[in-house]
């Protein structure tokens, strides 16, 4: 289902934005409470959430932390399959980076503004509030670096960045809602192909017909290229009764490149057959972009990535 991730600087009012969005859209807000509840369901102690927020002290700790994070991510991804969610924090911008229909929001405000708000909300003196904001900023940066080995402040991760210092959290929620709704409408109209949703798939969730396809998908995942496995079938020939006698289902569709990829790792004899299908496809659908990766190309790629034995 649809995913909105809300990443935020501490004290910028991101939680309020997330709550408003979830309420207005009727999505499930996935925050700390929901996660703790989920952990309980999985039979894990709720205190495990501490692993999410502290750095490792020992190898044992790190091992448990990794286990926790895997469970957490699985839990979140599962939820996203079943219903539409607004995910607050938890590195959502990375978990759903390969999902083209996910909407990534970043909520920020200037340091001084956030200190001022934290003072008001928590009844703190300026010095204490400043320390708290700075510490939390450091913590988040470190968490993202440790868990995802990425920079939190990479603009490429976000679809919309809002400064609540200028717009206010309520204003930001309104704007985010408008933008998200507009994008959604545009996406629905864009679908010319008979495809329900543009989602990036995961290697672990797809059964591939051939190991070469799985390997190819893993490489694409590694380089952050969203892909779909055998999403469309193109009829090529019909009989007198209008029944389809021949069809072509390309192995992959890369939504960012708007291109289908067909892997051909077999012998010359079968390559000829495939080329024939390709030509027929081009005749019927000249607007479709298909790339054939021939056996030789594919083996070179494997060689380069050290995958050949």
């Amino acid at each position: 289902m649809t995913v909105i991730t809300v990443s935020r600087q501490f004290g910028a009012g991101g939680e309020l934005v997330a709550q408003t969005l979830a309420k207005k859209l009727g999505f499930l807000l996935v925050n700390r409470e929901v996660i703790a509840g989920g952990l309980k369901e999985m039979g894990l102690p709720a205190q495990m959430i501490r692993f999410d927020e502290r750095t490792g002290h020992s190898e044992e700790w790190e091992k448990t932390r990794r286990f926790y994070l895997t469970a957490l991510h699985e839990y979140i991804m599962d939820m996203a399959e079943k219903e539409s969610i607004v995910l607050l924090g938890r590195g959502g911008q990375f978990l759903f980076r390969n999902r083209p229909d996910a909407f990534h929001l970043f909520i920020r405000a200037s340091y001084s503004q956030r200190v001022e708000w934290i003072q008001e909300i928590n009844g703190l003196e300026k010095k204490a509030a400043s320390l708290l904001v700075r510490e939390q900023d450091r913590r988040r940066k470190r968490y993202i670096r440790q868990v995802f080995d990425q920079s939190w402040y990479n603009m490429e991760l976000y679809d919309l960045i809002l400064n609540t210092g200028k717009i206010s959290p309520q204003g930001a929620a309104k704007i985010a809602l408008q933008v998200f709704t507009k994008i959604n409408q545009a996406e629905k109209r864009k679908i010319e192909r008979p495809q329900p949703e543009l989602t990036g798939e995961k290697v672990s969730r797809v059964s591939f017909m051939h190991p070469s396809e799985k390997e190819f998908a893993k490489v694409l995942d590694y380089y952050n290229i969203p892909w779909e496995y055998e999403p469309d079938t193109f009829p090529l020939q019909w009989d007198g009764e209008g029944r389809v006698t021949e069809a072509f289902s390309p192995d992959f569709y890369l939504p960012e490149q708007k291109m289908y990829v067909e892997l051909t790792t077999q012998r010359q004899k079968l390559v000829w057959k495939k080329n024939k299908k390709m030509r027929r496809l081009k005749e019927l659908h000249p607007e479709i972009n298909v790339k054939i990766v021939y056996g030789k190309d594919y083996h070179s790629m494997l060689k380069k990535f050290g995958l050949d034995v």
């Binding site: 490429e156 694409l220 590694y222 380089y223 290229i225 990766v293 060689k303």
Partner: protein
């Protein structure tokens, strides 16, 4: 599996082409703040030789990206293993690659470097193998376009071997 090497480009050809590229780059980047970004490791050989043919000032920096391999964690993603040491914001960046084939690495690199706001961003590669392209990427300067061969030599390796060869060869399975 045994391999043999078949010559593809001789050292003299490579040197000659690099001299031409050096002239072109010196003209195109005249008066600009050029930063050569060498993509480790294979590209080191080409970058050094290319830079020697420049008649204009330039800065040199290095970047390294993790490579996909068969023992990569299924949740692993590409990342920078050695980042640039200097800021490239406002500068004219020229990414120097040894080879562009699938376009996967270059695509990631370009996306990443764009976020740092260089004044200009172009690509110079010694070898271009367009038949293997999976992701479209721009190539502004190229040494040679090759057909679908597995190239080694002059910095390009196969499991770390052959980088030091002076010529470029095609690696062929026996």
């Amino acid at each position: 599996m045994t391999y043999r090497l078949e010559p593809v480009l001789k050292r003299e050809e490579i040197e000659g082409r690099i001299i031409e590229l050096g002239k072109k780059l010196s003209a195109d980047y005249e008066g600009k703040e050029l930063v050569l970004v060498c993509v480790l490791r294979g590209s080191a050989y080409f970058t050094v030789d290319l830079s020697r043919q420049l008649t204009i000032p330039f800065a040199l920096d290095f970047i390294a990206i993790s490579n996909y391999s068969h023992d990569t964690d299924p949740l692993g993603i590409v990342k920078i293993t050695k980042d640039l040491d200097t800021s490239i914001s406002g500068k004219e960046v020229l990414i120097v690659e040894d080879i562009v084939d699938t376009g996967l690495t270059l695509n990631y690199l370009l996306r990443n470097i764009k976020t740092r706001h260089p004044a200009g961003l172009r690509v110079c590669t010694l070898l271009n193998v367009p038949s293997r392209r999976i992701v479209d990427v721009p190539v502004d300067y190229q040494g040679f376009e090759l057909p679908n061969v597995f190239a080694v030599g002059y910095g390009l390796d196969y499991h770390e071997k052959y980088r030091n060869l002076l010529d470029i060869y095609s690696l062929i399975e026996e």
